[in-house]
């Protein structure tokens, strides 16, 4: 397997509030290898976006990293001073946000926003930066890039703006791109194009992608591996095909079961009973225990850590440690 590019170990993100500290991400660990696409799925509030924000150092205060380590090529980046972190943002880790309509500054032309980013990170002249910017726009599929570069964001459609956003995220050739629900705000017809573009352009530059989404279809088509988050904890991680076809964690199984298929002859969609717990009331033991059909004694008392499984998978579920602990 390729080198580990980003390694997240026991990441804890907390929000101090008046009614006590909320732990939004609780000991999440995973690796992203150079050039791979890691899908991150989970329900709203599972901590997907927060994980991305924590990696790039843009947690909204009062949110903060309260524990664990984040390493980029072995070098710790979670405890860097703001200036050091700023130099990594955009240059080594790029980010694509959800809503292209609001991601671009309405008062600046595309050229201004692109060249500004390039000049911040690269030792090039203004003219070179502009040339690069045009080439980038051309690459992300903006027709007549040389002419349209001086337009303002409102001159572009949503899909086109997301292409511009991708160009901006890739402007300084980062090694990792965090795409936080990059297609959620887009028209269904352009979603696939944008996903393809991200995948294509990143693989061509050797950049790894952390693709945050709740669309399992996108994950299935795009990702190499997938991480499933539940209530701020990692439920399961593994190669995308294995996880989708042979899910091990009861939550993942429920998640996969609830995807409707065209061949299914059923009136009702399968659903997981109950709802994800609020951060203030995460149950003791496994966070999934109130909704889990397979829960037993230990699930209510002790939190399961990810357990290594064959095929490079990990599952945080006592079902897979039962044999050892109960003999």
């Amino acid at each position: 397997m390729a080198d580990v590019l980003l390694s997240v170990r026991d990441l804890v993100v907390e929000f101090p509030t008046r009614r006590g500290t909320l732990t939004a991400i609780n000991k999440v660990s995973f690796d992203i290898h150079a050039g791979e696409v890691l899908g991150v799925v989970g329900e709203s509030g599972a901590g997907k976006s927060l994980t991305g924000a924590a990696i790039i150092g843009l947690l909204e205060p009062p949110g903060r990293i309260a524990g664990g380590e984040i390493r980029l090529k072995g070098e710790r980046i979670d405890n860097l001073p703001p200036e050091g972190l700023r130099k990594i943002r955009g240059r080594r880790i790029g980010m694509v946000f959800q809503d292209p309509l609001t991601s671009l500054n309405p008062l600046y032309t595309i050229a201004q926003q692109l060249t500004e980013t390039i000049l911040t990170h690269m030792p090039v002249s203004k003219a070179e930066a502009r040339q690069r910017a045009i080439a980038l726009l051309d690459r992300v599929g903006i027709p007549a890039a040389a002419r349209r570069i001086d337009d303002y964001p409102h001159h572009f459609s949503g899909g086109m703006r997301q292409r511009v956003v991708i160009a901006l995220a890739l402007a300084a050739e980062p090694e990792l791109v965090i795409a936080d629900e990059p297609t959620t705000a887009l028209d269904v017809s352009v979603q696939a194009q944008i996903i393809d573009l991200i995948k294509e352009i990143c693989s061509e530059r050797g950049a790894a992608v952390m693709l945050i989404t709740h669309d399992m279809g996108v994950i299935a088509e795009t990702a190499d591996r997938v991480a499933v988050l539940y209530a701020g904890r990692l439920a399961e991680i593994g190669p995308v095909h294995d996880v989708i076809t042979r899910a091990e964690h009861p939550y993942t199984r429920g998640l996969m079961g609830s995807i409707p298929t065209l061949t299914q002859e059923s009136d009702r969609l399968v659903q997981i009973p109950g709802a994800m717990p609020r951060l203030t009331s995460i149950p003791k033991g496994c966070a999934f225990n109130p909704r889990c059909g397979d829960a037993f004694g230990r699930c209510y008392t002790e939190r399961p850590d990810p357990i290594d499984r064959p095929g490079g998978r990990q599952v945080a579920c006592w079902l897979y440690k039962k044999e050892m602990s109960h003999v």
Binding site: I56, L58, P82, R86, K87, I88, R89, G90, R91, G94, M95, F97, D99, T102, S103, L104, N105, P106, L107, Y108, T109, E116, T117, T120, H121, D151, Y152, H154, H155, V165, L168, A169, A171, A172
Partner: protein, 327 residues
């Protein structure tokens, strides 16, 4: 663009017509000007003769048209009280008011924006909290009280600055200015603070609120995620967006600074149009009052026009017709 300006100009003319109707009506019905002009012992016959001479017996419409016709030529009649042409009176006092208003407008805008940005960026700081609570005083203390307090402190107790008048003035091409002499500049300080304090706190609070709003937007987050420097993000991307709504308010505030200079001018015996107006009110000197009303509304209309044009310059989204014509 030209059509836009023309449309605005037509609207401005309409506004001016309505205001002149109001000011003309005031001319006709507020008090009896004859009673104000002549002494008690004047005979009724003499009064009637004067009434006829001043054209006060003509039909209302004729008087109104006459009024507008003369107003357009800058002729607002003769002041009842001072027996001088109104236009001459106002012009001789306008420089004093404009200098005072302009200086306090600039001071209020610059200081207001600077403090607003500072308090927005250092939201949790002690200094910001102090500035914010002090600003409440600026908003709630009445102007005349601030003026009197300043006079008491700096003119009476400390004797640093003069308490009234403009000091020595120099006449440059018909414009009397206090900028060129030491005593003129010293005389400006207290009135400028008095007049500008409220506007400054208003602008500061507005800038702060807008800036906090802008700092939460996606494009600011995205600008940070691209690794742009704090300076570029805060003073480029954020401030520019903050200033769009601030421009409107600041423009209107400049208008009200000129209009409400009345109180400050009274407190400091500043020889401006405001003081002239107050004296005219006491003597029911209707021509001066009417001319003042027209002058102030004219200033407001002009400022509004400039603000609209500035909008156009700052916000590219308003230039949409030009852009769509291009594509």
């Amino acid at each position: 663009m030209i059509a836009f300006i023309l449309r605005r100009l037509v609207q401005s003319v309409l506004v001016m017509l309505v205001v002149s109707l109001v000011s003309f009506t005031m001319f006709r019905y507020v008090g009896d000007p004859i009673a104000a002009i002549v002494g008690q012992e004047t005979t009724i016959a003499d009064r009637e003769a004067l009434r006829e001479q001043l054209g006060l017996n003509d039909p209302v419409l004729v008087q109104f048209l006459d009024f507008i016709g003369r107003a357009v030529q800058g002729d607002f009649g003769i002041s009842y009280r001072l027996q001088q042409p109104v236009m001459e009176l106002i012009l001789s006092r306008l420089p004093a008011t404009l200098e005072l208003a302009l200086v306090s407008g600039v001071v209020a805008f610059v200081a207001g924006v600077a403090l607003g940005v500072y308090t927005a960026l250092n939201r949790r700081g002690v200094v910001s909290a102090t500035i914010m609570s002090t600003s409440l005083i600026g908003v709630s203390l009445p102007t005349f009280l601030i003026g009197v307090l300043l006079i008491w402190m700096f003119a009476v107790e400390l004797q640093w600055l003069p308490s009234f008048g403009r000091g020595e003035t120099v006449t440059v091409g018909g414009w009397t200015t206090g900028f060129l002499t030491d005593s003129g500049r010293a005389s400006l300080v207290l009135p400028v603070i008095t007049l500008g304090l409220y506007q400054m706190t208003l602008i500061m609070r507005l800038v702060r609120a807008e800036m906090l709003e802008v700092l939460r937007t996606d494009y600011i987050k995205f600008a940070r995620a691209r690794g742009l420097s704090n300076r570029a993000v805060n003073f480029g991307h954020a401030l520019k967006n903050t200033l769009v709504p601030v421009i409107t308010i600041a423009g209107l505030q400049l208008g009200s600074i000129i209009a409400f200079a009345i109180i400050t001018e009274t407190v400091f015996q500043w020889p401006g149009v405001g003081a002239l107006f107050i004296n005219s009110v006491q003597f029911v000197d209707v021509p001066v009052m009417a001319a003042y009303l027209l002058l102030i509304s004219f200033i407001f209309v002009v400022i509004n026009l400039i603000v609209d044009l500035l909008y156009y310059v700052v916000d590219p989204r308003l230039r949409i017709d030009r852009a769509s014509a291009r594509h």
